[in-house]
């Protein structure tokens, strides 16, 4: 009796969901962030429902299996626009975005009410590196030490430590591809000295991202600049949402997301910008790291390049933009702070451009060379720049490194997913942009 009462109460909690992002899964993440009954958690241990949002490529199945088994009992899974594994029977699959929160809540409630069994473990529960000592005292073997207990080598750092003579054993580990502070799909092997990143090697590139369809249309025919610029501002606001969430400014991040959802030519950035400045986001958070030199900045392109002082912007070559007297604004330092200031300035600029362009009904003129929010797209679209992280991040503290990752938009651009969306969802995801042009 008491138990059922407890479970009834438990079913009324905000549903703790750990999102595993597949391709184009970030839309679901943003949608759920604003759903009042869903709580997105950063660790699989804190979740009741595992949400696989979007198609996860086969090379990330192994990590997915491990994440799946990290959820504590009782838990369940939900597959959103992705194919459930065949041996998981009766797992619900959801296609429509607006049905997703409801499905998650139902899953959690059924789980709590005992109408649904907890998902089974996929892997066998044994240590990845089973280990048993052989020596007299149970130690690894020869002499006092020996052996590699549980896959962790003993700290026998007898070579001269070049850092400070105190042997801080370096710690090597893999993180990703479902770590919440990384771009979706990215996996890296990292060596830490204390909490200083010693080496960083990106093992799996983040999934290519799909931009707003208007950018792909702009490659085919002239499009209204107002629509293009609103989409650009929205893209940047989505990135700002992620960064603010990481920085511990949860409420401001939701403001950014709401602004992105309801973006129209009458929107202004002033309120959000003031709020960020007042909170000390630019002064207190990790902002000094990730300085890009010009060559690296050029490789990434887009706002990151302009934050490093390069004034490359393909919009300058477009007659439509020239009519609007567009000129790129730049920063000089090229660090995380400069990138966020640049991003905020560009959002502001985009909103102004959109306003003017709507009034004057300006269209783009170039189709072969357009500036996407991710970077320039002339012959080739922006490509994956994640290997650049291997050069930029070593030497930074952990917090700074993650803030840098959040401030760099490294994923490649690919045109997919746009066609599978129903018009209904587009409106949900993109807010009021559909009716800018009457």
């Amino acid at each position: 009796m008491a138990v059922s009462w407890l479970r009834k109460l438990a079913s009324r909690t905000q549903v703790p969901v750990f999102p595993v992002l597949g391709k184009q899964g970030d839309r679901a993440l943003r949608y759920l962030a604003l759903s009042p009954e869903i709580e997105l958690v950063d660790s699989p241990r804190h979740a009741s429902v595992l949400l696989i949002a979007g198609e996860v490529p086969a090379d990330r199945f192994e990590p997915l299996r491990r994440v799946h088994d990290q959820l504590p009992y009782p838990f369940t899974t939900l597959w959103f626009r992705s194919e459930p594994w065949p041996h998981l029977e009766n797992v619900p699959r959801v296609e429509k975005l607006d049905e997703l929160p409801g499905a998650l809540i139902t899953a959690h409630r059924e789980l709590m009410a005992g109408q649904r069994d907890s998902a089974p473990r996929i892997l066998t529960d044994k240590p990845p590196n089973p280990w048993k000592g052989e020596g007299d005292f149970g130690q690894g073997g020869e002499g006092m030490m020996g052996g590699v207990p549980y896959g962790r080598p003993m700290a026998m750092n007898m070579q001269d430590d070049i850092r400070d003579g105190l042997t801080l054993d370096s710690l090597t580990f893999r993180l990703g591809p479902f770590f919440s502070a990384f771009p979706p799909g990215m996996m890296a092997e990292i060596t830490l000295q204390g909490d200083l990143v010693q080496t960083w090697s990106t093992q799996l590139a983040p999934y290519p991202q799909s931009l707003d369809p208007v950018f792909f249309t702009a490659r085919e025919r002239p499009v209204p600049i107002a629509e293009l610029e609103l989409a650009r501002a929205r893209h940047h606001l989505h990135r700002l949402f992620q960064a603010l969430r990481l920085a511990g400014l949860e409420n401001a991040s939701l403001d950014a997301l709401r602004l992105a959802q309801n973006l129209s030519t009458s929107s202004t950035l002033g309120g959000l910008r003031r709020r960020l400045v007042r909170s000390g986001f630019f002064r207190l958070s990790s902002m000094e790291g990730g300085v890009l030199d010009p060559e690296q900045a050029r490789q990434i392109g887009g706002p990151a390049a302009r934050a490093a002082g390069l004034d490359d912007d393909l919009r300058l070559e477009d007659a439509g933009y020239r009519r609007l007297r567009f000129s790129p604004a730049c920063q000089t330092h090229g660090n995380t702070r400069a990138r966020w200031q640049q991003t905020l300035n560009e959002i502001d600029q985009s909103l102004h451009l959109a306003q003017q362009a709507e009034r004057d009904e300006v269209y783009t003129s170039e189709v072969d060379r357009i500036e996407t929010p991710r970077g320039p797209w002339s012959e080739q679209g922006p490509e994956d720049a994640s290997p650049l992280l291997d050069e930029v991040l070593p030497g930074l503290e952990w917090g700074e490194a993650l803030a840098t990752v959040a401030s760099l938009d490294v994923a490649a651009v690919v045109n997919e997913g746009g066609g599978t969306q129903t018009p209904d969802e587009l409106r949900v995801v993109q807010g009021g942009s559909g009716n800018v042009f009457k």
Binding site: E37, V41, P72, P127, F173, D195, A247, L284, G399
Partner: protein, 308 residues
């Protein structure tokens, strides 16, 4: 004797622990809601529903953890919060343990919190908790120093290390006015030792929950309750040390105390929602280069005040 000296204080502390943790959870939700976090259902029921869910969730295992330390750490942190609550006086006579060195005892609670948080991060035998634990140790030592100087400052005018005496010494003038540097410094210490909001470096989002990132179920419930209770204990200490504790006109003493504690709690929770997480490196510099000298200044100020 048994009833008066053991049972009543234990009941009192348990009551404060439960009610306090619940109040923190509700207040934090209300503040988040006021700043625009989406909310569903009753704010008053939400903490209990969450607690019930954590009770039904199983406690998980990691590979080769230090089981004893891992399971004990949340309970120990809760015990430290209970000790903190036990020394907070609600009126001249209504105090769970009126130890003559209760100010020093609170200092040792802060020091032992460092041990417990490190142990919590270390014992999980997992990467992100470990980094969180080390981060806290690196920062915790500086909070303790600042807190000690500030607390010696309030003990000086009272000529006692007892919180009841410290409150009584504020009859004429509250310490928040007598030593203007004290309360702001102490609030920073409070955010630090409960790793809340801008100083939440041990259980932070960039570590996916830090020392708590590998726990689930009942241990996580205990850890969350303990953190909230520690915040309450801290606000009780801050209210007694700087805001005159139970002193105040018209209303009965315990009520004044509750109002002042709520005020401190509200400030801490607001700061937690308004400020971003401080970069650890900047935080260490701030603590040692700016705040520690300021706490010296506070102590010198208090000393001169006591001499005059």
């Amino acid at each position: 004797m048994f009833l008066n000296e053991l049972l009543l204080p234990v009941l009192m502390v348990t009551f404060m622990l439960t009610v306090g943790a619940y109040v923190v959870a509700v207040l934090d939700r209300l503040i988040a809601g006021a700043f625009g976090a989406p909310q569903a259902g009753s704010v008053w029921l939400a903490p209990m529903a969450r607690g019930a869910w954590l009770m039904t969730q199983h406690a998980n295992a990691t590979e080769a953890p230090d089981w004893q330390a891992w399971r004990l750490a949340p309970a120990l942190y809760l015990a430290l919060a209970a000790i903190g609550l036990a020394v907070v006086p609600w009126s001249e006579s209504l105090v769970a343990t009126d130890l003559v060195t209760s100010v020093v005892l609170w200092g040792s609670v802060e020091a032992l919190a460092t041990v417990v948080i490190f142990l919590h991060g270390w014992s999980a035998n997992a990467l992100l908790p470990l980094i969180g634990g080390y981060r806290y140790v690196a920062l915790g030592l500086s909070y303790i120093l600042i807190s000690m100087f500030v607390l010696i400052g309030v003990a000086l005018p009272a000529e006692s290390l007892q919180f009841t005496q410290v409150v009584a010494s504020q009859e004429a003038l509250w310490n928040v006015l007598r030593q203007p540097l004290g309360l702001p410094l102490f609030l920073i210490v409070g955010l630090g030792m409960t790793f809340w909001g801008p100083l939440n470096l041990a259980d932070s989002a960039d570590l996916a929950g830090g020392t708590a990132s590998e726990i689930s179920g009942p241990p996580r419930l205990v850890w969350d309750v303990a953190r909230a209770a520690m915040l309450v204990a801290f606000s009780g200490v801050a209210a007694s040390a700087f805001l005159g504790g139970w002193l105040g006109p018209w209303l009965p003493g315990p009520l004044w105390m509750a109002i002042k504690m709520l005020a401190v709690l509200l400030v801490l929770l607001l700061l937690g929602r308004l400020l971003p997480r401080i970069a650890p490196e900047r935080c260490v510099t701030l603590m040692w280069v700016v705040l520690l000298p300021l706490s010296f200044l506070d102590l010198v100020w208090a000393g001169i005040g006591a001499l005059l």
